[in-house]
């Protein structure tokens, strides 16, 4: 039938496939993630230094309004420790490698990461516009530097009884 004929390959000489670009979350853009990590180091870490596991926790806490709210509830002891369930995000490792390569942060003794002078300069540059990463910065300022390594360790080890 005529309809079927239209589906045959007789007239098509060749097929071409175009690779469409893929939409990805902003969290997966290298500079977004690097900026987020640097903000954690600058606003919520003593001496601009933090362990990897602590970065993982704060990274997860920072990701969405919901995560932020859950984290703050645990921080204020309104919810038990294990109720904030965070994940180790693979992209974070890559972002750290890149940021170290860019010399925005560096590994220091005790397996900790520290923000560099260049990192501080970059953050100062991009936050000249007050609105940039405003929600993130406000959250980190609220958390402040009192979220300690000990607390982070507790958060990782504690399990519901």
């Amino acid at each position: 039938m005529a309809d079927e004929k239209a589906l045959t390959l007789e007239k098509a000489h060749s097929f071409r496939f175009t690779r469409r670009p893929m939409a990805i979350a902003a969290e997966l853009r290298p500079d977004w993630k690097m900026a987020a990590l640097l903000l954690i180091l600058q606003l919520s870490s003593r001496g601009g230094k933090s362990s990897l596991r602590r970065l993982h926790i704060l990274n997860w806490a920072l990701r969405s309004p919901r995560n932020r709210a859950e984290f703050e509830q645990v921080r204020e002891h309104q919810q038990p420790l294990f109720s904030f369930q965070f994940r180790f995000e693979p992209a974070l490792g890559r972002a750290i490698n890149l940021a170290v390569g860019e010399k925005l942060m560096e590994w220091v003794g005790d397996n900790r990461l520290q923000i560099t002078v260049k990192g501080k300069r970059w953050i100062a540059d991009i936050t000249k516009d007050e609105s940039v990463m405003y929600q993130e910065r406000e959250f980190l300022k609220r958390i402040g530097k009192d979220f300690t390594e000990t607390f982070a360790t507790e958060m990782i080890t504690v399990r519901p009884i």
Partner: protein, 681 residues
């Protein structure tokens, strides 16, 4: 006399020191007043204390420190016979007599040093200094505190009423609107010596946070329609908001009247409309036998049935039995079928609600991501020498190509660029918003349907119960079913009729709102598209003419006079392509400043303007402006009729004295080398 006017009439500074009383008395007349004295004699203190007496120091900044020199606050140097001596200030105060366009006087008194609260002003309703009038009317007002411009005891409110100003509201950056504070107007009336000159057209206080302060103040002083237009625009917006709000409320209440009797309201437009009724008239429908019928029809049906019942006798149980047994079976079948309908509807309602919720979550997530992308775009556009290299697609260490993503995609998929990603999200938001509002709509429909069905089920159950009760009661008793049907019917008729009335009232209210909507749309249409009306343009032209004419008199050198125009946008002097403050010689900036403020006074004191006709120049001969230009300015000022202009100068005394005499300036105060603050008897 013009309704808005302010004149400074008499100034008294009084200083108590440990070496006796010092101070000064000065009178000021209409027209040009020139105060000439050498440097360091205290001229600036004289005019500055006029401003202080008016509580106007906020125009120079938010500081609460007294903006006057140590001679008035701390210690005072004077000649004791022939040797220099110092006197310690114990307390000091300034008093000022002012006059308005109705020939009324007011005396204000404010402490400079001493124990008395500096925020308090004592006000007398008359000439308390020169005539000792109205001494019993003393009343304390306050300045430099919240409400000074609005509250009854706020001095600036008293002052603006005295001047005859009706101050408009001005929008601010972060706070609610405020009146156009006097501190923002006075920089156009008083130029302070140290910081005032050279900032065109004036050094406005920024700490009050008023938007477009330069435009608002000039608009006000010139009495431009632009101001009225801006105010009308704000009022229209307010009215639009009000009608919308009341419309929404009437609509909700009309719909509620429907749901109270398990009916459904259709056809009320969500947004206000200007012609009532809408093409499809709003209706309230009731469900009868699985069909929606208009409420009137429904009510008539109920009434007809009621009349019918009233005309027949209530049967006994025995007689009614066969008939009601058949009815029981019918009703039970109907109830079962309705319950199935409800179950199905409920399922749909649940499913739709869940869908709406998940769509909402999806929307929230996309919105949050979109915000992040917009931030990211700003970061990338801003650029910084410390920006990471990755963004340009290179690994910072090995400089090989690297995708703009932290996903381990290998080479399989290329991520979108940030801009692509932003527009992708924007499309998604549009799509999801549409789907979401559909889902919400079907949730609401299901809800209404459910309510109506439930109402009917309840009624059906009641009827069945009555029938059963009838069937088990004594055979000679009147049929319970028949009686309660009558009662129920009566009740139902009452309730439906009441709600119908409520519905009609709200519909009438909507009709009223529709005419108000029409009116406000009409007002909106009448507002000019641009900012300037014809009379505004005429005033701006006058301003420009006077301004350019003066610039010619003052022999401006850096630019051709005809190129300096008054901008119709912000009413400030502008030259196409030239930054006036940067590209013009310093002395020309001074000329521009004189010309602008004098032109503003000239145009603003015309009948429709709000300029109070007072202008104070403290040491206007700045930046070594040539002698001739200065003289021309004095001559121009002398020519201003409806005004009081006060000028201080340290210009060489003899020549300027002769010149002032020649141009006819009557009020010249010559201090020579003497200090203005002197020992008083």
């Amino acid at each position: 006399m013009k309704p808005t006017m302010l004149r400074v009439r008499h100034l008294l500074i009084h200083i108590n020191t440990d070496k006796g009383v010092f101070g000064t008395k000065q009178s000021f007349v209409d027209g040009l007043n020139v105060i000439r004295a050498e440097n360091y004699t205290g001229k600036s203190q004289l005019v500055q204390s006029i401003m202080y007496a008016l509580g106007m120091e906020g125009m120079q900044g938010p500081s609460h420190a007294v903006p006057l020199a140590h001679a008035l606050t701390d210690y005072l140097e004077f000649k004791d016979g022939s040797k220099d001596a110092k006197a310690k200030v114990i307390d000091s105060m300034v008093s000022l007599e002012i006059e308005n366009g109705k020939k009324q006087f007011l005396t204000v008194q404010r402490a400079i040093a001493g124990d008395r609260n500096k925020h308090l002003m004592t006000v007398y309703e008359g000439r308390a200094i020169t005539k000792k009038e109205a001494l019993s009317t003393a009343r304390d007002y306050y300045v430099r505190e919240g409400g000074a411009a609005t509250k009854e005891l706020g001095f600036h409110r008293r002052l603006k009423d005295f001047i005859g100003w009706d101050l408009p509201m001005a929008p601010r950056f972060n706070e609610p609107d405020c009146p156009l504070y006097l501190e923002t107007l006075f920089p156009l009336l008083y130029v302070e010596q140290k910081f005032g000159w050279g900032r065109l057209p004036a050094r406005y206080p920024t700490w009050l946070g008023i938007r477009d302060v330069g435009r608002r103040t000039v608009e006000f002083l010139l009495g431009l329609d632009a101001y009225a237009v801006a105010i009308e625009r704000a009022a229209v917006n307010e009215e639009i908001k009000r009608v919308r709000r009341e419309w929404a409320s009437a609509r909700t209440q009309a719909e509620r009247s429907g749901s109270a009797i398990a009916g459904i309201v259709r056809g009320i437009p969500v947004e206000p409309i200007a012609s009532w009724p809408p093409e499809v008239s709003p209706t309230l429908s009731m469900m009868r036998d699985y069909k929606w019928v208009p409420i009137t029809e429904y009510l008539n049906g109920l009434k007809a049935r009621f009349t019918e019942l009233q005309n027949i006798e209530v049967p006994t149980t025995e007689r009614a039995e066969p008939k009601i047994r058949a009815e029981l079976a019918k009703r039970e079948a109907d109830l079962a079928s309705r319950e199935r309908t409800i179950a199905a509807l409920y399922e749909k309602f649940e499913a739709d609600t869940a869908e709406a919720e998940s769509l909402q979550q999806r929307l929230d997530a996309i919105n949050d991501d979109l915000r992040k992308y917009k931030d990211l775009r700003k970061v990338r556009r801003m650029g910084s020498s410390d920006s990471p290299e990755v963004v340009n697609g290179h690994c910072p260490t090995c400089h090989q190509e690297l995708a703009d993503s932290l996903l381990d995609t290998g080479n399989k998929a290329v991520p979108m660029t940030v801009d692509q990603n932003v527009s992708f999200y924007e499309e998604q938001i549009q799509l999801f918003t549409a789907v979401h509002s559909n889902a919400l709509h079907s949730v609401q429909t299901a809800e209404k349907e459910l309510r109506a069905q439930r109402g009917q089920v309840a009624e059906q159950r009641e009827r069945i119960r009555d029938i059963r009760e009838t069937l088990v009661s004594a055979s000679s008793a009147p049929s319970i079913e028949a009686i309660s049907e009558r009662i129920r019917l009566q009740e139902r008729i009452n309730r439906v009729a009441t709600q119908q009335q409520v519905f009609d009232e709200h519909i009438a209210e909507l009709a009223q709102l529709a005419t108000e909507w029409l009116d406000v749309q009409e007002r909106l249409r009448k507002l000019p598209k641009g900012a300037l009306s014809e009379s505004d343009e005429a005033k701006i032209n006058l301003l420009q003419k006077s301004f350019q004419q003066q610039l010619t008199q003052y022999k401006m050198g850096s630019l051709a006079v005809s190129e300096v125009r008054i901008s119709p946008g912000n009413y400030e002097p502008e030259v196409a392509g030239v930054n006036l403050s940067a590209d013009v010689s310093a002395s020309d900036v001074i000329r521009l400043h004189w010309a602008y403020l004098l032109a503003l006074l000239e145009v603003g004191t015309r009948p429709t303007g709000n300029h109070p006709g007072m202008l104070i120049f403290d040491e206007p001969q700045q930046q070594s402006v040539e002698e001739n230009a200065f003289r021309e300015m004095l001559r121009h000022a002398q020519g201003e009729k409806n005004a009081q202009i006060i000028i201080t100068t340290s210009h060489e005394g003899k020549s300027i004295g002769t010149y002032l005499e020649r141009i006819g300036t009557k009020h010249v105060v010559e201090f020579g080398k003497n200090r203005i603050l002197q020992k008083m008897p």
